[in-house]
């Protein structure tokens, strides 16, 4: 197991290097002169030259990348052009809101998605199954930002039950987490259903029933446990979707998180901040998927770590 963890950790390194190269090149992919783009159309030649020098854009590419990576290793993501504060500080100040939102959305997704999927799978082709699957199809087709607006309309404006924005407390995250998590819960419900249906007709489930095991135990202990691997995988992958979706949700609900920071940075052409935030989110996503990989053994003891 230990050797496997080390091996997987080592495999993550090339991916992270690749991610760093891609984010590094973001700034160089800007059409025309990146320094001119950042300085703005009205900047003088001196100001453009200053930006170029400040960002090191006047040096050869390999020098720039080398410097970029050595700074990264020291935890230095550069300095925000907008606030002139270190990008990492800006990210860290906002990340707690984003991760709270994402984790709460994961909770919404797992609770609704898993139970809807189990409910459907245990009553295949019944009216309830068809309705649940139809609703989940609707759920997948819902734009998260529109759902957010509709939730604000219903729960904040009409019913006056929950706040429509901000990040001052737990109650402020309920609507955004619902908006963000519902669509993913629809994906999870469909996957849980198909994954459970594959297992539910197998001999060992029939044997368990024949032995007189209670239906609840048959469903949760025998069937669900054996259907968990794809379910865990999709939860890991959806984590990335939710982190991306947080950009939209944070905008709709005016949450001062990392997603909104990225949007503001794009509007300000604050490339060090865009680069830093995207790299940060990608690194988190890579690590979450690594953890999901490591969870396979816990979920299914048949998985051998070799």
């Amino acid at each position: 197991m230990f050797a496997y963890i080390v091996k997987r950790l080592l495999q993550v390194i090339p991916t992270l290097i690749g991610v760093s190269i891609l984010t590094f090149f973001l700034i160089h992919a800007v059409p025309g002169d990146p320094a001119r783009m950042i300085a703005g159309p009205e900047a003088s030649a001196e100001e453009v030259a200053e930006v170029r020098e400040h960002l090191g854009l006047d040096q050869p590419l390999y020098v720039q990348y080398g410097k970029y990576v050595s700074n990264l290793l020291k935890g230095d993501l550069g300095v925000s052009l907008r606030s002139e504060r270190p990008v990492l500080d800006e990210i860290m100040g906002r990340f707690p809101s984003t991760i709270t939102l994402t984790v709460m959305a994961i909770a919404v997704m797992v609770v609704i998605g898993l139970f809807a999927g189990i409910f459907s799978a245990t009553r295949p082709n019944s009216l309830i199954d068809n309705v649940t699957m139809m609703v989940s199809l609707f759920g997948i087709s819902l734009p998260v930002f529109w759902l957010g607006l509709m939730l604000i309309l219903l729960f904040s404006y009409y019913l006056n039950l929950l706040p429509s924005g901000g990040n001052d407390g737990f109650s402020h995250f309920i609507l955004p987490a619902l908006a963000l998590g519902l669509s993913s819960s629809a994906i999870l419900a469909r996957l849980t259903r198909s994954s459970m249906l594959e297992v539910i007709n197998q001999d060992f489930v029939r044997t368990a029933r024949a032995k007189g095991v209670k239906e609840k135990l048959v469903v949760y202990k025998h069937t669900l446990k054996n259907a968990l691997i794809p379910i865990v995988t999709i939860i890991g992958l959806e984590f990335g979707t939710l982190l991306g979706g947080a950009v939209l949700t944070e905008t709709v609900f005016s949450i001062n998180g990392l997603g909104r920071f990225i949007i503001q940075s794009i509007q300000f052409r604050d490339y060090p901040s865009i680069q830093g935030s995207i790299l940060f989110v990608a690194a988190i996503f890579v690590i979450v998927n690594l953890l999901v990989d490591l969870c396979y053994g816990l979920v299914d003891p048949r998985v051998k770590y070799e």
């Binding site: 891609l22 973001l26 800007v30 819902l142 734009p143 990225i262």
Partner: protein
């Protein structure tokens, strides 16, 4: 065996092959037609495509014509979906918006299919260093949450619908490359490919005439589903101000401006959202149906 014999044999096998694929195609169509949900999805998409094509004739008003006297009016007989903050008819804007959303979704996915199938086929067919290199690059792209990758690409290229299409194309490439690679690997050692190789067929000929046509089915299914994702992503980017610019009647952008009037005129953002959902639902149902019709066991 003479060249003529070989050619004859090839002719026979081709016609047999064609016969088999024709009946397979018939089976697929009949399976698809029996699937009610798939048929509903199919007609929803057909409806949207028709609306998009006929937009200038079916839209009751000019989508960008302003009329400040009737701004933010709720649904009525003359304006079934109401009017927006400039007194523009929302129904007409939604009808014209269908063109933009469909175009973005289809072109974006087409870019992804062309690049993804090319890379996946090279990777799967040739293997070795090309395979490792291409797939590692795809892995790196997949390390980014997809919406964020699209956002990053648009942030670099600048706002606008063309750039949104490029962004959607690029972020979908890895999914198509992986799927195409795996189907190519599953067919590249089949006898009929070996036969063409033995007859001296070039790699390019084999790939274009035999490998791609025989590995395209799952790509078609995935395309339908990805168009749905692409439409939502494009609307999301426009919602953030990165896609269509005013006064273009793009659904995501319309939703974004409607947000400011949510309390006083909720219909301004409700209607474009319903339109997005209708079109995306259509493509999702169509995709589900195609998947079940092509191969009920296919996992996508």
């Amino acid at each position: 065996m003479s060249q003529i014999d070989l050619a004859l044999q090839q002719d026979e096998s081709t016609s047999e092959h064609a016969y088999a694929s024709r009946s397979q195609w018939k089976m697929m169509v009949s399976r698809f037609k029996k699937n009610k949900r798939a048929m509903v999805g199919f007609w929803m998409v057909v409806f949207c495509v028709t609306v998009a094509l006929l937009a200038p004739w079916v839209a009751p008003y000019d989508p960008i014509e302003q009329n400040m006297q009737i701004m933010l009016e709720g649904p009525s007989l003359s304006h079934p979906f109401g009017t927006d903050e400039f007194g523009r008819d929302i129904l007409s804007r939604i009808i014209h918006g269908t063109q933009i959303s469909l175009m973005t979704g289809i072109v974006g996915v087409l870019i992804a299919v062309i690049l993804g199938v090319a890379l996946g086929t090279i990777s799967g067919y040739f293997g070795g260093l090309a395979d490792t290199l291409i797939m590692r690059i795809m892995d790196i792209f997949m390390a980014f949450p997809s919406f964020l990758l699209a956002l990053a690409i648009v942030s670099v290229l600048g706002p606008g619908m063309i750039n949104v299409m490029i962004a959607i194309g690029i972020f979908s490439v890895p999914t198509f490359a992986r799927l195409s690679r795996s189907s190519v690997i599953s067919i590249k050692d089949k006898e009929y490919i070996e036969a063409v190789k033995a007859m001296g067929g070039s790699n390019l000929h084999i790939i274009i005439k035999h490998v791609i046509p025989n590995s395209i089915a799952p790509i078609i299914v995935l395309s339908s589903m990805r168009i749905a994702t692409a439409i939502i992503t494009a609307a999301g980017l426009s919602f953030l101000g990165m896609g269509a610019q005013p006064p273009t009647p793009e659904w995501g952008a319309m939703l974004s401006t409607g947000r400011e009037y949510l309390r006083v005129a909720p219909h301004v953002s409700t209607m474009p959202g319903l339109a997005i959902m209708f079109l995306v639902l259509g493509f999702n149902m169509l995709g589900d149906g195609l998947r079940d019709a092509l191969d009920p066991k296919m996992k996508l």
